[in-house]
């Protein structure tokens, strides 16, 4: 399998996970800081 395909799989899935994990922490933070009173 070409290196480009492996790069696509690893970096593509990896970055998708990374960004969505960041969003997870972003939401946790926003909900904590701006909680409904």
């Amino acid at each position: 399998m070409s290196n480009k395909l492996i790069e696509l799989l690893v970096f593509g899935m990896g970055t998708t996970f990374l960004v969505l994990i960041l969003f997870y922490f972003l939401v946790k933070l926003l909900v904590k800081v701006f909680s409904e009173r």
């Binding site: 799989l9 593509g12 899935m13 990374l18 969003f23 939401v27 926003l30 909900v31």
Partner: protein, 370 residues
């Protein structure tokens, strides 16, 4: 007399075959209710595009014809997909996801089909850019597929769009088979706790802004689609643009969908559509949806090895972008196993996470191949 017969003389068998393909799409839209808002205009567009062209008079799908003008103005420069995302953003309520942010993980895992399909497409003989465009059918998100294909492999726009929208309407048939093959009855009966967390208006307003900035910095290619999706959502949540929000959800969505469908149809010329690649693309579209579903389900099972409160693995399958169809399918399956099990909110959360995940994954593919 010669002039009256010019159209008949110019007609080719391939074009007649495309009338049949267009007719099948229209039939599926009307009789089977498969994504009628898109398949009907696509089918009719395919018929219009393949009408015979008389020498000296520009064809309807040529660059001077109305479909060609729409194609150049709306698809090849990515305008229509971006506008569709404003409408989608205005329609989406992110509240369930903000209440259960762990569902973001499934929105990432269920993009697995994109990358597996790229590998399969490459092995079937497509070059890397064509393979990537085909893989993005696995985003289960028509506008993202169109957006990526116009940048990577424009000549495949017709079959890829048809595959993307057709399989989206087949989610209720594809997902249950894959889910049942990968889970036990016991797993499908897992109940998930749902806590009604109050989400403040500030969070709902800050979320689309922060997501745009983060995605724009880490994956700049996603700026168009994420930016417009979140812009639509901000209009919805800000509370002071109710008229614009309604317009985006109704008039804008309807108008762009109408033009998008018929313009995609204009890419379905006989030469571009009738070949083995189209059949391969249709098959690979199925592969993409199967691996998407499998990726979500298997990731949920993997997480269950480490967490106390177990996830119902079916919720992982809802991490694809086909919203809200996938969430409904998952709830229906849960109800089949246990009529008192209610996991719709969790599935809907994973489903909206999939909307974001599919754009990020599609943008990463574009970034890595640019």
């Amino acid at each position: 007399m010669e002039q009256l017969l010019a159209g008949i003389k110019a007609l080719e068998f391939n074009q007649v075959f495309m009338y049949v393909i267009g007719g099948v799409l229209i039939y599926l839209a009307i009789k089977k209710d498969y994504e009628p808002m898109l398949l009907l205009p696509i089918g009719f567009g395919a018929i219009l595009t393949n009408l015979p062209v008389i020498p000296g008079i520009p064809g309807i799908a040529s660059d001077e014809g109305i479909l060609g003008i729409l194609r150049n103005a709306g698809i090849l420069n990515e305008l229509f997909p971006a506008l569709i995302f404003v409408a989608v953003g205005a329609m989406i309520d992110f509240t369930p996801l903000l209440q259960m942010p762990s569902m973001f993980f499934f929105g990432a895992a269920a993009q697995f089909g994109i990358f597996m399909t790229i590998i399969f497409a490459y092995l079937l003989g497509f070059d890397i850019k064509e393979a990537a465009s085909i893989g993005i059918i696995g985003a289960a998100d028509g506008p993202t597929s169109i957006f990526a294909t116009t940048r990577l492999a424009r000549h495949l726009l017709g079959p890829i769009s048809v595959a993307a929208y057709s399989y989206m309407s087949l989610v209720p048939m594809i997902q249950p088979i894959v889910i049942k093959a990968l889970t036990t009855k016991k797993e499908r009966r897992i109940r998930m706790e749902y806590k009604e967390v109050k989400i403040s208006k500030s969070v709902k307003i800050l979320f689309p802004i922060a997501v745009t900035i983060i995605a724009g910095i880490i994956a700049p290619m996603s700026a168009t689609l994420i930016g417009f999706l979140m812009f639509g959502n901000l209009i919805r949540e800000c509370g002071v643009l109710e008229r614009l929000s309604q317009s985006a959800q109704n008039e804008l969505a309807n108008l762009v969908t109408l033009l998008l469908g018929i313009t995609i149809g204009s890419t379905m010329t006989a030469e571009a559509f009738i070949n083995w690649n189209t059949i391969k693309i249709l098959l690979l579209g199925l592969v993409a949806f199967i691996f998407d579903t499998a990726g979500g389900v298997l990731f949920a099972k993997f997480l269950n090895l480490f967490v106390k409160k177990k996830y119902n693995p079916m919720v992982g399958a809802a991490g694809i972008s086909a919203f809200p169809m996938s969430a409904r399918v998952i709830q229906k399956l849960a109800k089949e196993e246990d009529p008192t099990n209610f996991i719709l909110m969790q599935a809907a959360s994973a489903n909206v996470a999939g909307q974001i995940g599919s754009i990020i994954a599609g943008s990463m593919v574009l970034a890595l191949l640019s």
